[in-house]
């Protein structure tokens, strides 16, 4: 078996290590019975047998990279809370909504106990006294599965007061959103969890680890990040880092969508798997649909600058991808074949970010909408040359200075690396510009071909010397 009707899109062909998807093969993988029958809660028991500091050290040693987008090591993040400030909270980011991203939902629907166990381990290690599991509002099934799992785990003594007879006591509270992409940004997530409009409140230098939920130290971690912990605790940091590379150990889940023969979600080896493997490999997507040519792909979710076939041989390694002008983001690859109308495709992303702007900062609220209107015009063939220039100028207000993009042999273009400057609070504003910038930089001729052809009005109506 390679794919399962109960786990739509998930494919486990080939012989790859499975850290977080091992139970997807069971139709009842979401139940406590199956969980316990397959080694469930052994990680928690292993953790409770050690001191919190030892558990924290193990996580640090494993360098579990954050899977929410920024790739920050979880163990290091837990260490950023100010000393002796209590209480501290854990907020689990299950708001998965970045275009192209599809993995956290599977983890919640297919193996909710694994996530819960991960939460408990994190709370134990970092002294977090209450956990809020924030699930995207539109994910009804994930909410039901996690609710059932929580109820069962409470009843069985895995959550709550004196867990498994120890001194460790923590509540895990299921919380759900109501539809707003920006709430995935961690400070907006906290605002939302406090009952407010989900507007980011980034206030450097205070990140949530210092001043978070209710103004208290708060760890925000992605679902997949936490789902790694049970395996790590039943195995070891050494076994974890033996997979992948030194800078990108372990595995990660990646969704490949768009114009490939076999779109799907894969747990891949981090750091070594290349985009070519993913798009063309037999155990992965098996090439472009209908034998078409690859035109471009988005390597790390809708916020990531686009790559060309030139970049296919890059591995899933943050530094290398950053230097090549994009980012790995949330493990989402969107593939465009030669038939793709680039202005239209780019517009769907610009529209997404403009629509999802929280409205807090002017460059995103006003600039994003303006970008979207112009892109719509250009995609519809109603744009003009000056619209193209205007797009780039608006972009300069959102992201002044050089903006990252891929290298292109065809265009004789060198890569512009990450990062970039921005005038907005969070990345929604820049993301509205990313697809605009990538599309115009890498496929300008496609825009030009769709411009309104205005007849040039002759400068003088008198006779000209070329015979008219």
């Amino acid at each position: 078996m390679s794919s399962y009707t109960w786990a739509p899109g998930f494919i486990d062909d080939g012989d790859r290590p499975q850290i977080v998807t091992s139970r997807f093969q069971y139709e009842d993988g979401h139940t406590l019975e199956r969980y316990l029958a397959t080694g469930g809660y052994a990680g928690l028991k292993a953790a409770l047998a050690r001191t919190p500091v030892q558990v924290h050290d193990e996580v640090k040693a494993a360098t579990v990279l954050g899977r929410g987008g920024a790739g920050f090591p979880a163990g290091t993040k837990w260490g950023l809370t100010p000393v002796e400030v209590w209480p501290r909270y854990l907020v689990v980011n299950g708001d998965e909504s970045e275009p192209g991203t599809y993995k956290d939902r599977l983890l919640m629907e297919r193996d909710p106990h694994q996530l819960i166990e991960g939460c408990l381990i994190a709370c134990y290690a970092a002294g977090l006294s209450q956990c809020f599991l924030y699930i995207r509002g539109e994910m009804a099934l994930a909410q039901e599965r996690v609710a059932t799992a929580l109820n069962d785990a409470y009843a069985a003594g895995y959550i709550g007061r004196n867990i498994l007879g120890s001194k460790f006591s923590v509540d895990v509270v299921l919380h759900w959103g109501a539809g707003a992409y920006v709430v995935g940004e961690e400070t907006a997530l906290i605002e939302s969890l406090e009952g407010n409009r989900g507007m980011p409140r980034l206030k450097p230098p205070f990140f949530p680890a210092a001043i978070g939920l209710y103004g208290k130290p708060t760890i925000v971690n992605n679902v997949e990040t936490l789902a790694n912990l049970p395996w790590l605790l039943t195995h070891s940091a050494a076994e974890y880092t033996a997979i992948g590379t030194a800078t990108s150990p372990g595995t990660r889940m990646v969704a490949v969508s768009g114009h490939v023969k076999r779109p799907g979600v894969f747990e891949i080896v981090n750091g070594t798997t290349t985009f070519r493997d993913l798009l063309y490999g037999a155990e992965f997507c098996q090439g472009i649909r209908d034998g078409n040519e690859l035109k471009a792909f988005v390597p790390g979710g809708g916020s990531a600058p686009w790559f060309l076939p030139d970049q296919l041989d890059l591995p899933f390694e943050a530094k290398l991808v950053g230097a090549a002008g994009s980012m790995l983001g949330s493990g989402a690859v969107m593939v465009m074949d030669e038939t793709t109308d680039i202005p239209t495709a780019a517009h769907t992303l610009t529209r997404f970010y403009a629509h999802e702007s929280c409205g807090k900062c002017v460059p995103c609220r006003e600039g994003g909408t303006w970008l979207e209107r112009i892109m719509e015009r250009l995609a519809d063939g109603r744009g003009t040359e000056s619209d193209l220039a205007q797009l780039l100028e608006i972009g300069q207000t959102i992201c002044p200075g050089p903006f990252p993009h891929a290298a292109s042999e065809r265009l004789g273009l060198e890569a512009a690396p990450f990062p970039f400057k921005m005038t907005t609070i969070c990345f929604v504003g820049p993301s509205a510009y990313t697809s605009v910038h990538s599309a115009i930089t890498l496929f300008r001729s496609e825009f030009e071909a769709k411009l309104i052809k205005r007849k040039l009005i002759p400068v003088s109506v008198g006779a000209t010397d070329d015979g008219h």
Partner: protein
């Protein structure tokens, strides 16, 4: 050699101030304060970074992004919102780099993209930061060819404020103010992204006592105030700073006028007083001075009717009344009450007239609703000291209703966790939910309530931390002040070193008392005067801006006193219930029509200015006193108000340093000192009797909007009082056999009035609360001002 060395090298011996942070601003080394935001530090050093959302009195939100500059903290120049980031050692700030300029220009273009081209018809035109910055930073014309956001043009969001959502740039200032400063989060952002706009909840208007501040801080013309929409354009305004005298907080204001007409007041950010805020009553009651009902000519009663006469005739008539009275019953047959609403100079001239020229000891500026004058001799706290005290004890009325901006200051102290508030109150107040402990008591049981609190270990420990300020005022008009004073002394004894902020209410109560509008030896206070008048012992009653019928708690005594005084002289701006009965009415200038000084509750003296000509034939009170002195054959010796200011400095203890020069030199006014003379105050003896279980104990206190003349004659405010009613705790309704909204009889030993019932959980069980001086039946009829407390019974009709 040594010279040059000491000149160039910083002396290593000088200790480094730990609160100073050295940073570079546009290539220049400056010293900022630890924790100071970059935008504020730059401004202190003369560099104004453009901004729309930042406001120094509210938390930063970083919404508009206009203040972004290049700041280098060692990682190279970063685009940094300077309103969000505090200075750090060795920070390099560049507010003028090309990148900075481009960003600001770009942001401005985006802001203007959706902005209507309203400037020619916008109230803000001419003083609009957006308009100004568009001229100085922005590109010439908009390249935004898309359709702009459309909203219905201005909609009222409250009785006083209109919102134009097309002009709004979503800076979050008004909403932040409502939530953070006023605690009335009745306006909010709604929708998201490009569709975001400000709104109120349906049928819940932005009815904050402080709504006018949002108009002032809105950086564009999105919020406008009903009283001055379309009244004038900023470029033809004349402006002067002054002080609001509506209550004793004494907020600093700017009076804007045009063509000799006052158009609006704006709050001035006075650090020790109002932080830029005003209450709506103070902000909008300037309308009253323009009222068609003002008394504009001197009036003399003939054949039972008041007739306009010349000043000379009126003063002569008044003088002869006074002389007749003196001849009939001696100087003590003349009584002068009032004078707490004018200036220090007015009060001083009247005090001299009364004490020196007429020679009566029966002089008092308070109206029986105030506080014992000798409280001024206790160790007084400033507003700042109160708002930063470790513990603030409230033995006071609802400050939100009576001294609104003091309420804001104390609310902030509690919200920012600087201070803990311990409140003793006969009814929940605006500060109750900010109080660390709120202890409600039934009138008469203040001392027991304080004793019980002092026995609580946590409260005792809190007070033992020291730095305690008691705010003391008149929480209930239906009882004598005796029990509260006893409770105060109990507190002062339990927490030595405690300071006092006396919550006098009228604008210049403190000034009037200090400069001399208080009884001479053996003299009577206002209650005594009215009682004597009722007994036929007062031959001439002089009302200096006093309206006993509206202000004196015991209405029956006020009525009998006015009727019993043989002749009455009134100095007033309007014909009130009391002044309309006078034999001579001397028309007085209103606020904004005269110069002088005023003293707020903490003793701070600041100036008030004449910004427009006096209405009609009116004169300032001090000039009226002078004229009357002359008519009485004497001479106060004042040709102008400055001479009185000087005289006060020379003669009034505690005012020796309060000179015109000192006032001119200090924008925040000058604190006067503690009076030195001993002022005997007699408190009525008597303790509260037990309450009969069928009765309710009466609590009567003021609401911000009532029928006070300044409110009633300001069209924008006149309809805001909520009306007379009897408020009962919901759990008491059944016990007394009534329900919310039902009309009942309220019977006291004195009188019976008929009022609707309001179920009100802020009322203490066993008490009945009524608002003072609201439209409807007058609760003053119920009060016996000699009784320690007053009880009432609720009866069905």
């Amino acid at each position: 050699m040594t010279d040059t060395k000491s000149g160039t090298e910083p002396e290593a011996a000088v200790p480094v101030d730990p609160n100073v942070v050295s940073v570079t601003l546009n290539g220049r080394a400056i010293e900022a304060q630890k924790g100071e935001l970059v935008i504020a530090a730059a401004q202190r050093h003369g560099v104004y970074i453009p901004r729309f959302c930042y406001h120094e009195r509210m938390s930063s939100v970083g919404m508009c992004r206009m203040c972004i500059c290049e700041v280098d903290t060692g990682r190279g120049p970063q685009l940094t919102p300077t309103c969000m980031v505090a200075v750090a050692p060795n920070m390099v700030i560049d507010t003028e780099s090309e990148m900075t300029k481009n960003v600001q220009q770009g942001i401005l273009e985006l802001l203007l993209a959706n902005h209507p081209l309203d400037c020619p018809v916008c109230d803000k035109g001419g003083e609009c930061p957006l308009q100004d910055q568009a001229f100085s930073h922005g590109p010439g014309e908009s390249r935004y060819i898309e359709e702009k956001r459309h909203f219905e043009k201005p909609i009222p969001i409250s009785d006083l404020v209109y919102l134009d959502r097309e002009r709004c740039i979503l800076c979050d200032r008004c909403t932040r103010f409502a939530d953070e400063v006023a605690g009335d989060a009745l306006i909010s952002f709604t929708s998201r992204g490009n569709e975001t706009h400000i709104t109120t909840f349906p049928d819940e208007p932005f009815s904050s006592y402080f709504s006018g501040n949002t108009v002032q801080i809105c950086p564009v013309g999105a919020l406008t105030a009903k009283p001055y929409r379309f009244k004038a354009r900023p470029w033809d305004l004349a402006q002067q700073e002054s002080t609001c005298t509506t209550c004793s907080v004494g907020c600093r204001i700017v009076i804007d006028s045009s063509r000799d007409e006052v158009l609006r007041y704006m709050g001035v950010d006075s650090e020790p007083v109002n932080h830029g805020w005003l209450c709506d009553r103070g902000r909008f009651n300037f309308e009253s001075t323009k009222s068609a009902d003002r008394v504009l000519q001197p009036l003399v009663r003939e054949h039972d009717e008041l007739h306009e006469v010349s000043w000379n005739e009126a003063l002569a008539a008044a003088a002869s009344i006074i002389e007749e009275a003196k001849a009939a019953g001696g100087a003590a047959g003349v009584a002068v009450i009032g004078g707490a609403r004018g200036t220090n100079e007015d009060a001083y001239a009247w005090a001299r007239l009364a004490h020196e020229v007429i020679g009566t000891p029966n002089v008092y500026s308070q109206m029986g609703d105030g506080l014992p004058a000798d409280l001024l001799r206790l160790d007084r706290a400033t507003i700042d000291e109160t708002a930063s005290a470790t513990t603030i004890v409230l033995l006071a009325p609802d400050l939100k209703e009576e001294l609104p901006v003091l309420y804001l200051r104390l609310r902030e102290a509690a919200e920012k966790k600087r201070s803990r508030i311990i409140e003793f109150t006969p009814k929940q107040t605006g500060l109750t939910r900010h109080a660390w402990r709120s202890i409600s008591y039934e009138p008469g049981s203040q001392v027991a309530a304080v004793n019980e609190a002092l026995a609580d270990a946590e409260i005792a420990a809190q007070l033992a931390k020291g730095d305690v300020v008691v705010v003391f005022g008149r929480a209930n008009l239906a009882e004598t002040i005796t029990a509260s004073v006893q409770a105060l002394h109990r507190l002062l004894a339990a927490a030595p070193g405690t300071k006092l902020l006396p919550a006098f209410r009228r604008g210049n109560s403190v000034g009037a008392l200090q400069v001399g509008l208080r009884p001479g030896a053996g003299g009577l206070d206002t209650r005594g005067v009215l009682q004597a008048a009722a007994d036929g012992k007062i031959d001439c009653l002089v009302l200096v801006g006093a309206d006993p019928l509206a202000d004196f708690p015991d209405t029956e005594l006020a009525r009998r006193g006015l009727a019993g005084a043989r002749r009455t002289i009134a100095v007033d701006t309007f014909l009130t219930g009391s002044s309309a009965r006078a034999d001579v009415v001397l028309p007085a200038c209103a606020f904004g029509e005269k110069d002088g000084t005023t003293t707020n509750l903490e003793g701070r003296v600041s100036n008030v200015v004449r910004q427009v000509s006096p209405a009609g034939n009116t004169r300032p009170d001090w000039m009226i006193a002078s004229g009357l002195a002359t008519a009485l054959g004497s001479d106060l010796g004042y040709a102008n108000v400055g001479e009185i200011t000087l005289d006060i400095a020379i003669n009034v203890p505690g005012f020796d340093h309060v000179t015109s020069a000192a006032l001119a030199a200090s924008a925040d006014g000058v604190l006067s000192g503690t009076p030195t003379a001993i002022w005997p105050v007699t408190l009525l003896e008597g303790t509260a009797p037990e309450r009969n279980s069928y009765d309710l104990r009466l609590v009567i206190s003021r609401t911000l909007y009532d029928q006070a003349v300044g409110t009633a004659t300001s069209p924008s405010l006149a309809h805001l009082p909520r009306g007379s009613a009897v408020h009962l705790h919901p759990l008491d309704l059944a016990r007394v056999g009534t329900a919310d909204g039902v009309e009942v009889k309220v019977r006291s030993a004195r009188a019976t009035i008929v009022l609707p019932v309001v179920a009100d959980a802020s009322v203490v069980r066993g008490t009945a609360w009524l608002p003072w001086n609201n439209p409807g039946p007058n609760p003053g009829e119920l009060i016996d001002c000699f009784a320690a407390v007053n009880d009432v019974r609720i009866e069905n009709l």
